[in-house]
Amino acid sequence: MTGTCVYDVIIAGAGPAGMTAAVYTARANMSTLLVENSQPGGQMTKTEAIENYPGYRHILGPDLSREMLEHSVKFGTEVLNGNVEEIKDDFPYKTVLVDGYPYQAKSVIIGTGAKHRSLNIPGEKELSGFGVSYCAVCDGAFFEDLEVVVVGGGDAAVEEAVFLTRFASKVTVIHRRDELRAQRILQNRAFAHEKIEFIWNHTVEEILGDGMVSGVRIKHTITGEESDYPCVGVFIYIGMDPLTSCVNRLGITNENGYVLVDENMKTSIDGIFSAGDVNEKMLRQIVTATGDGSIAAMSAQHYVDYLEEKLQTEQEVKEHDNASY
């Protein structure tokens, strides 16, 4: 099936990577379809203040999400709400299955991002929404004058622990190591805060509570000693898992599930590019996602030019052959 309905590029995921890619491809007059199954902005929509995106000393995640989306739409990006189920390496055009419906494109950019990781321990699922949360900005206010714990030691854990002090009477960060992984500036804020305490070298084994969270069962990583720690809220920030179910069959991910790309955001498959948190990379930030997105867009543009030229040449050769009979 060829003809009118082939996009120059389909972008899977409207986070900062995908939306930036769309700004670039649409602005370069490529027909661009941006597919998102949830809210444009990705993880940005779940954070409150962003302080390290250049040009904005302080901007709300939802506001930056909206700005980026409007920016890409301004240049002609078509936005589709749907779930990208599979990306297929067909020739000459890629097929992208969205809610069972096949869309075709000359190139594809994967920008599906990552999703918060679960602890996968007893009580976590059962008490989700009853004290277990993955979104401090959404749920923090329910814990006014109450005691909560934050599980994790990275940027998100420490940043949200500080945020939660606005509401909670005490915030305890439980971390499995004896030091934080978070950026120094965040660590300093947390260490200086009188409401924040730390429990080092402990893992959370179970979330306790009958209908509501009443505490966590923790275990010392060295001695193995277990104890119960009371709290009414548990905020889990132990990292992310890449969202790659739509590319599982392509064999472009590493053992941790992240997509492998070169410095031009090319995967091992011609015409399929990948950008942002879904990629194996050193730093997962909005600013690196947007950088990836622009590079992926440029690579996609080069590929589409190459593909069109190739198809044109093949067509001419065919016509020439036919003519010489």
Binding site: S38, T45, S128, G129, C138, F142
Partner: protein, 110 residues
């Protein structure tokens, strides 16, 4: 969509003559705000069968505590004044809410 609060909750939710789905939202819950237009749309589409109302959690803490809502967004399905099903979490989509509506219709047939 009707905005419910402690004053009209009994009348609009508990004493309603059809299934009611209460959308617990909050002003700083971005997933809630983003879902809202779609929920509004669903409330129009299904207005004959199901009543969809919204409740601002920031202004109605007691109702949240009463119904053990501690995570947003949360959608509680009420039937004859009782909670019969609830869904919550920041990854809820329009499809999840539509599934809850369909479930409420199934429930109402018994």
């Amino acid at each position: 969509m009707i905005e419910v609060n402690k004053k009209n909750f009994t009348e609009e939710v508990l004493q309603a003559d059809k299934p009611v789905i209460v959308d617990f939202w909050g002003p700083s819950c971005q997933p809630c705000l983003t879902l809202m237009p779609e929920v509004e749309q669903l409330s129009h589409t299904y207005h004959e069968q199901v009543k969809l109302v919204k409740l601002n959690s920031a202004e109605n803490r007691k109702l949240c505590i009463q119904y053990r809502v501690m995570g947003l967004p949360a959608f509680l399905l009420f039937k004859d004044g009782e909670v019969v099903k609830r869904i919550s979490g920041d990854s809820l989509t329009k499809d999840d809410i539509e599934a809850l509506i369909n479930e409420s219709l199934g429930v109402s047939h018994y």
